[in-house]
Symmetry: C2
Subunit: 359 residues, 2 copies
């Protein structure tokens, strides 16, 4: 009846704090087989940050391309099996990247100690044992994956998170210097993920004073970063965006995302669209649900010269739209939050298909 | 160089969530000698909440009067020694009350596992071992003691906290129904503690985007509760005040209190004034440091018909004022934050005495 939510155990916040990692992980090196697995966005391959990793020769460093797809159950299982077969059980896993890398780090931490395929654990509290120590360093801000208790995975049957208290990072390092080099499109779309899920968090039946306070402050920071007098890319805004991402994630602890995220999951699962971009594709057409939130979102698009494609649905088959509508419909907690207890009277596969046809 | 701060491990937020405690502590009952120590504000003695305590016959329930003084090292040592001698080592300690009770619960949790007097551990990271499991249930909102890593104690020599990562609660239950019956004076003064330390947090050299975001949102909630259209005592405002208290406390994770708190500590240590009230006594006279914050504070006083005494210093001896100035001066981190790196050039015992004479 009352959620008892698990916080990240320890948090460092500050420009340049990436350098604190070596000391933080040193005391964990006695665990298990004594090596760390670094999972790093391959954007950093050959870049300065790669030279600053506190990796020892015993450690495994994997640069992973987050772009072709969001993390899949197959990808997690394969990486886990390979590491266990060749090196044993890591002392810990360190994720350095955006939401995809955060989710990979959280998911593989759990899958090192829970047997079988990760497809067995997609859902709430299905994980049986705590994972290994895991540390997250976000290098793109907005998804809130650094604080959430979910590691979203796309499986053969569903896109659904491994969600339990052990999913939450043991340690997070929030160093806003690391987001200074995010490509401008990712800076925009990922930041909009925070904006959109805070709007959804506020407008629904599950929110409370806790989720509202976090959503309000995250939205206020987003407004400063994307619409304020000093809007745009600068150090101060990087700081603010990193805090907004964290607070947006914390808002969802006691609330839920809504219609936009439900539609977005369908776009990701069936058409392979990236999460944050898919949110933007859908959100622009939801003014009847999210009113001024959508109006303000369009101001942000305009201010940053972002053109979202229109009439996408014209090229989709009815089969694809139906498949997306089924994915969206099955995210029942999102509809419940957004529409209310009687949502099934108001929302049908047909009505969801109509929403997709707006795109 | 970079603070690595420890979060409360688990948090429940929600009206009525006090009832979740029985289930939460059930799984801890195998620890140590299997009994819980309940430390409860004696305001609740004979009241409905006392009947709702999930205490078993084996447990120890102590109703404590928080009013004669704030927690002392002697009080903690004595209670610890008595419990250990008669019952052994508790499975955990549960604090139910305002900031004083929160501090007692945090401090005694540490003193059950660290030998000798608590006076040995007043300061930063002097504690040698983790304490026993401790759970906090605030019934007055404002001090932020429910989230802080400090258990402030008044000893024979100093008023200073036991401050380390193990001070932080393992579990907090935030049930805003519990603050509905707070006497109106405590409701005001304790809420003002959040307001004042957020103003101090913002205006100083240590703050960053993290502490600013938390302070901004806590201040915004305080404004709604004490000055907004629906200002005053109601369920919605109790929710907001409970969140404001938490966020105000979290703001201080990366920032510091300032001049008002330094003066307040002197008033508490030398004259025995309660912390939140002492803050209010001092803050009204600090407009040259905290500008619009003090102006707005005076609006809140007026709106709620709170008359703070004036010309107090006329009845103090020079010896008392000097003693208070020494207490305040020694809180060097507060002056450093509020005045800057060169604070010693600007702040002297004499200048602090002049501040006290404003009261």
């Amino acid at each position: 009846m009352y959620k008892n939510f698990k916080n990240i155990e320890k948090v460092v916040f500050g420009r340049g704090s990436f350098s604190a990692m070596a000391e933080i992980i040193a005391e964990k090196r006695n665990e298990n087989d004594g090596f760390f697995l670094f999972v790093v966005d391959n954007y950093f391959f050959g870049k300065e940050l790669a030279d600053r990793l506190p990796a020892l020769p015993i450690d495994v460093v994997r640069f992973i391309d987050p772009d072709p797809h969001e993390p899949t159950t197959e990808q997690i299982d394969k990486l886990r099996d390979e590491i266990v077969a060749t090196k044993g059980l890591p002392a810990g896993v360190i994720g350095i990247g955006g939401g995809t890398i955060m989710d990979i780090a959280k998911a593989i931490s759990l899958m090192f100690t829970n047997e079988g395929s990760s497809t067995l654990y997609q859902g709430l509290n299905l994980i049986k044992k705590p994972g290994i120590y895991h540390l997250g360093v976000p290098t793109i801000s907005g998804t809130g994956a650094e604080v959430s208790m979910t590691a979203v995975l796309t499986g053969p049957e569903k896109k659904l998170g491994l969600k339990c208290e052990w999913t939450v990072f043991n340690q997070v390092i929030l160093d806003s210097e690391l987001i200074a080099t995010v490509p401008v499109d990712k800076w925009f779309y990922t930041g909009m993920d925070t904006y959109i899920h805070c709007i959804e968090s506020q407008l629904g039946i599950l929110n409370n004073a806790y989720s509202l306070a976090y959503a309000q402050q995250a939205l206020s920071l987003c407004r400063e970063v994307y619409l304020g007098e000093k809007a745009g890319r600068n150090a101060e805004n990087d700081d603010k965006l990193m805090v907004a991402s964290m607070m947006g994630g914390l808002s969802l602890t006691y609330s839920e995302v809504g219609i936009c995220h439900a539609l977005s999951y369908g776009l990701s699962k069936i058409l392979g669209e990236k999460h944050c971009y898919a949110n933007c594709l859908a959100f622009q057409h939801l003014e009847d649900f999210y009113g001024v939130g959508v109006v303000e979102f369009k101001e942000m698009l305009k201010k940053h010269n972002v053109q979202l494609p229109q009439n996408l649905s014209a090229s989709w088959t009815d089969e694809q739209i139906t498949a997306m509508a089924h994915v969206a419909y099955n995210l029942t907690h999102m509809w419940y939050h957004a529409i209310g207890t009687n949502w099934k009277e108001k929302v049908t596969i047909v009505s969801i298909k109509e929403l997709y046809k707006r795109l």
